[in-house]
């Protein structure tokens, strides 16, 4: 192993945990925001939606599909000019946030879309009858009524983002996943590999636990 446990933790694991938390949190927040907006657009403009618009729906739906078609690494390199424009560099954890967000947003959008669709149409009709505008219906009815499902799906997506973040190592973002891959797997160091995986497990358990509690609370 060559290095003491303390060294390992200090130099590699600890910064990796910080980086992972940073990337996953920020990417979740941003992709939730964008995914949310996309989901709402899809929900509103679909055929049976509040304001059907085949054109807008088709365009957004296609964009979502196109982005979802890109293998993550390829998405990451394809948008490098954009990443550079946004954060000034294509390398590092901030640079990784851009593809992480872009890759997760359509995924979130699909999850949120299905969440919205589970809201009872009769309740929406009642809101319409009260004179509620589409915006009011979306925020006060659709979103509010689907909150537990949204929370659950957000949890699901967050864990997926954690998985994606492992690949962000390709652009030097660091983080637990890429430590596991690089220092662990590629350097034939099983203790680092499974050590980081254990930390990942703890993280995932934690996220899922919080998500479940949130969902129970919202129910």
């Amino acid at each position: 192993m060559g290095h003491s446990f303390v060294e390992l933790v200090e130099q590699i694991i600890y910064p990796a945990v910080k980086t992972t938390l940073y990337m996953v949190t920020i990417a979740t927040i941003f992709s939730a925001i964008f995914g949310f907006m996309i989901a709402i657009l899809l929900y509103v403009t679909r055929k049976s939606g509040l304001h059907p618009n085949v054109g807008v729906f088709t365009v957004i739906n296609t964009i979502v599909n196109v982005i979802r078609s890109f293998p993550f690494v390829i998405l990451m390199v394809s948008i490098i000019p954009f990443t550079r424009f946004l954060v000034g560099t294509s390398i590092g954890k901030n640079a990784a946030l851009v593809p992480l967000t872009i890759a997760s947003a359509p995924f979130m959008a699909r999850l949120f879309e299905t969440s919205f669709e589970s809201v009872d149409e009769e309740v929406i009709e009642a809101a319409k009858a009260c004179g509620a505008s589409n915006i009011q219906i979306i925020f006060w009815v659709v979103i509010k009524e689907s909150f537990p499902l949204l929370a659950q799906n957000l949890t699901l997506a967050m864990i997926s983002i954690l998985g994606f973040s492992a690949m962000a190592g390709a652009v030097g973002a660091g983080g637990l996943g890429s430590v596991a891959l690089m220092y662990g797997y590629q350097n034939f160091n099983d203790s680092i590999m499974y050590g980081t995986v254990i930390i990942l497990i703890i993280l995932v358990q934690f996220i899922q636990f919080v998500g479940n509690k949130l969902c129970d609370y919202l129910k």
Partner: protein, 321 residues
């Protein structure tokens, strides 16, 4: 206020509404009755633009609903409260929030909202459930939330789809009184779909009977119940009995002193009668005896003269009770 003419509505091949003509005046309480599946709820939904119609015209306050733009339709709906047959409450909101919903939509200030919401919740008797979610309420409690929600913004028109079906007689009566009150004090126009004839009797001025999408009877409530024509008898499930004799439907109002009517009849005349059906009913303007009497044919003319003298409304029925 509401003018419907030649209204048509189809669900696929099913003709749900056919050539509906109806006029509901401002400040009126109008009853809509009919067999299950006749199209009552659909008509109500057409009136506030929830369901598009396929033909004819439907004007509310002179405006053709179907021609309204989105924003206009929304504004228009703000003047219409609706109580849904299945309540359609927000599952994740408590009673307070459900009732407050239309106030929020109207962007009323919070003081007014709070006051009004609490008032309504009190009026429907749900103060102690104000924090409960619909899931924790009984059927009737849910219905009362729906009622409070529909009335909280004091709309000019109120559409009630079986608004008291899940309520016990006492609560139902208090809700009906509430409706009567807002109708009288604020001139709210109310359309009530119901299967409970007592409800129609108690608060409606006029009523219409829908059968398989067509209006086959409409008019003054008392008059229609007095006439007891075949479609209404059919709805009420009354069977004709074929016996000899003259069957006379009578409506003895308070002014003719319905309580003493039969006693006086006997002391003043020697006409034999049988009370075939009926009893004392509560109409909007007071109680009255409504029922069918059987008179022997020989006495019928004299009896009718007596009724006229007593200012009792009556109709001779072809046959039966």
């Amino acid at each position: 206020m509401i003018e419907v003419s030649g209204l048509e509505k189809k669900y696929g091949k099913l003709q749900v509404l056919e050539n509906i003509d109806l006029e509901i005046k401002k400040g009126e309480i109008f009853g809509l009755v009919g067999l299950s599946g006749a199209g009552k709820s659909t008509l109500l939904r057409c009136i506030n633009g929830l369901v598009p119609y396929d033909g004819g015209s439907l004007k509310v306050q002179g405006i053709e609903i179907q021609k309204l733009g989105k924003a206009q339709l929304r504004n228009f709906r703000k003047n219409i409260g609706m109580i849904f047959q299945n309540f359609s409450l927000l599952e994740r909101c408590n009673v307070y929030e459900n009732v407050a919903f239309p106030m929020k939509v109207w962007k009323k200030n919070s003081v007014e909202t709070d006051e009004q919401v609490r008032k309504m919740v009190r009026l429907v008797g749900l103060e102690d459930k104000i924090e409960s979610r619909p899931r924790q309420l009984s059927g009737g409690q849910k219905q009362r939330v729906a009622i409070a929600r529909a009335m909280v913004t004091e709309p000019e028109i109120l559409l009630c789809d079986e608004a008291t079906s899940a309520l016990d007689p006492k609560t139902a009566t208090s809700i009906l009184n509430l409706l009567k009150e807002i109708n009288q004090k604020m001139g709210v126009t109310i359309i009530i779909v119901t299967h409970q004839m007592e409800v129609v009797e108690q608060i409606c001025d006029r009523m219409a009977l829908l059968q398989a999408g067509k209006i086959i009877l409409k008019g003054e409530v008392k008059q229609l119940f007095l006439e007891n024509s075949e479609p209404l008898r059919e709805l009420l499930g009354r069977k004709l009995t074929f016996e000899p004799g003259v069957f006379i439907r009578i409506l003895i109002e308070n002014k003719s002193n319905y309580r003493k009517f039969f006693y006086e009849l006997s002391s003043e005349m020697k006409i034999a009668y049988e009370i075939c059906d009926g009893g004392i009913r509560n109409f909007k303007d007071g109680s009255a005896f409504l029922g069918t009497l059987k008179i022997e044919t020989k006495d019928s003319d004299e009896f009718m003269r007596y009724l006229k003298k007593k200012k009792v409304l009556f109709e001779v029925q072809e046959n039966g009770a």
